[in-house]
Symmetry: none
Subunit: 182 residues, 2 copies
């Protein structure tokens, strides 16, 4: 996908999300609406100042203009995943997720005791959680995407909507990586 096509889509997406008309955004950003029109139709090659003005007017981080909308969920079972060092049979690593350059990641160890399920309020917009189960079985995820994971499983899901954690039978231990935008 061409970089300008990505930006075209991003501007369009973010503008509509912000409920702004093309003309209104142009005014707010101090640009000619003809410029915006050309950008959104992919017939442009904007420079940095222009992009900066757009990002500011949309009140979004600069780099959001280069991200194509993507699904933030991924579930990797302990048996799945593409091994990296295939040759070394005694050292198999699986890349679960690469850290995008514009995020921060905090590591938590979580002990879940069985019984009540822990509800969590939505974290800041754009937050993603990475759960890596260590022992025990855990049912967790956003309300519309609860998954049950066991030892070695990896589950990644959006943390900016309500979500919950629940140990299934016994005590469960997992590593939780809170992945938030910067």
């Amino acid at each position: 996908m061409s970089p300008n096509a990505i930006i075209a889509a991003a501007i369009c997406r973010e503008r509509e999300q912000a409920q702004l008309t093309l003309s209104a955004l142009a005014a707010k950003a101090g640009l000619a609406k003809s410029t915006l029109s050309q950008l959104e139709t992919g017939k442009g090659n904007p420079n940095v100042e222009t992009l900066w003005a757009i990002a500011n007017a949309l009140d979004i981080p600069f780099s959001s203009l280069f991200e194509s909308a993507s699904s933030h969920s991924a579930l990797v079972r302990s048996c799945e995943g593409v091994s990296l060092s295939a040759g070394q049979s005694d050292f198999a690593t699986v890349l679960l997720d690469k850290c995008p350059p514009d995020r921060r990641r905090d590591l938590y160890r979580v002990v879940l005791r069985p019984g009540s399920s822990r509800q969590s309020k939505p974290h800041p917009r754009g937050t993603v959680e990475h759960a890596f189960s260590c022992s025990g079985r855990v049912r967790l995820g956003p309300v519309d995407g609860i998954a049950e994971i066991g030892p070695g499983d990896y589950y990644r899901y959006s943390g900016d909507v309500a979500h919950s954690y629940e140990a299934v039978d016994g005590e469960a231990l997992l590593l939780l990586v809170m992945d938030s935008p910067r």
Copy 2:
């Protein structure tokens, strides 16, 4: 800080990290070196195609060009750590490490089979590894700081010196977070 100043610094930083001369990068990116020179000295306002060519030539994600410009050990046993939500007895989390704002973190699942120990060459300067043991006992760390960890233990150490991993008796599973500077 002006957006073009950020980009100027980013290009310069990434280019030197890649050990490329300004002329070499220009050739690789298919740009005039005068263009790069002007950008790195902050006297430019590049468009998207130019930035794209630079990012590709540097082999870095596109948005790294918009980022404005570290290694200790810590071992946290599974019984240690300060719980955050002390009240919730069925949900105990321990913050193992906070992500500094200028780093990237990639997640790996590692399966270690017993026997030979896996030697690892030093990663780029400033790299830190976070190991979270899931099952089995593992002896790992830099040559001068090998530690043996078991399920639930967390060990953080420098990855920019030679280090090794070795499963002690049976197969071991751990989550490895590669924490590298940007």
